[in-house]
Amino acid sequence: MYIATNTHILVAEFDYVEPTTLEEVFWHLSEHGPQARLIAGGTDLLVQMKMERKNPACLISLARVLELQGMTSNSGLTVGATASIRSLARSEPIGRHYTALAEACNAFSTIPIMVMATLGGNLCNASPAADTAPPLLAFDASVALVSRAGQRVVPLEDFFLGPGQTALRHDEVLRSVHLAESVRGAGSAFVKVARVAADISQVCAAVRVVRDGDHVIDCRIALGAVAPTPVRAHRAEAFLTGQRPDRGRVDDAARIAGEDTKPITDVRATQEYRRHASRVIVRDALTTAWLRAGGRELK
């Protein structure tokens, strides 16, 4: 499927700069114009450059920009854009309060890729199959986009515009990702179907439910690799919210989520398989999330 390019070397020639502050990043972005690209972990961009699909004149590395690093709790959790996928997979607070995100990060490609790849990179690459996107959608995440003009906060749902397309303007940098505060009675789960463990998703789904007694009082269902962008299943969420879940209702919600997908057929799976598998994994994720929220076994 790949055109026979030489992946032994990088054929393209380019400049490389390594700013240490956001102010320097903005300066380089305006200096080098649209021919410049930001690079974080490089696990997507360098592959695309080796394949000669992208040919930037200048790479602006974000690796040493302190303002993009770290993780802070502040009515929720704010994760710096260059946090590695592995650091999220191993984070104790993420494992406890944002379980679906921890599961997605642990299912992410291979260990060295997890070490190198960053959360911001996974989002800005905007693959419809990005593993971190569905759990972040389930946690009502927003992204902080900064430029010289200041900062704007965009809900993640509005950030993805299409495959490889985001709301990020050329003069902007994705600074951090904010996850909504975890609430009492919440439970979440991520389920991924892939050809082999290290491959990207054929489909993946993340679910968060909030339980009060025997009722679902809030619910998020998000899917990856079933549409041009990662998507929420709004109709299925509405169907389940306020309900007392049983196996039949969860099946129905999963069926609605599956019906609302718009998958394509590609080398990894057919449209039919993706739609069917969506339904199955949404059902499984809902069931697991409900139990994690402390809900009773579904009858």
Partner: protein, 162 residues
């Protein structure tokens, strides 16, 4: 695209090398440092053959720009043995015949070493999960997993030098 001088620690030795922005760490290791244990397999991050440790973390040298590792410590497969003593993981690979054609072996051993550094007593499942990015077309993985578990049993965990 001017070459620039970077400073690295390679297997404990200070090195100064001249690299261009498009030089990959893998090629600097193999062609400038003449350390050919680290392998070029797929070149796109899918096989694990080029795995090295950078500041103690396993990374794919085919997807790392050499300019980006200025000032950092690299350990390659050649850096695991000390005073002509093989690393216990290397010994275990020999004992369990976990090597057939040998092409994946450096990557497998660097990943196994990284695993035991952070988790000295992994379960079989944890070994398989950690090594999932290393492809072997000969052994079927059974002997490799056995070797890593045996190395762990012999207390091979613990920090390597950097």
């Amino acid at each position: 695209m001017k070459p620039r001088v970077i400073h690295l620690t390679v297997n404990g030795e200070q090195r100064e090398v001249s690299v261009s922005p498009n030089d990959l760490l893998l090629n600097v290791i193999r062609e400038q440092e003449h350390l050919t244990g680290t392998k070029y397999g797929c070149g796109i991050g899918e096989c694990g053959g080029c795995t090295v440790h950078i500041d103690g973390q396993p990374m794919l040298s085919c997807l790392v720009l050499a300019v980006a590792v200025d000032g950092r410590a690299i350990v390659t497969i050649e850096g695991l043995a000390r005073n002509r003593q093989l690393d216990p993981v290397q010994e275990a690979f020999l004992d369990h015949s976990a090597v057939q054609c040998g092409f994946c072996t450096p990557g497998m051993i660097m990943m196994s070493r990284a695993l035991l550094n952070e988790n000295p007593r992994p379960t079989e499942h944890e070994v398989r999960e950690f090594l999932r990015g290393c492809l072997c077309r000969c052994t079927g993985y059974v002997s490799i997993v056995r070797a890593v578990l045996a190395a762990a049993e012999r207390g091979a965990g613990g920090e390597e030098r950097s």
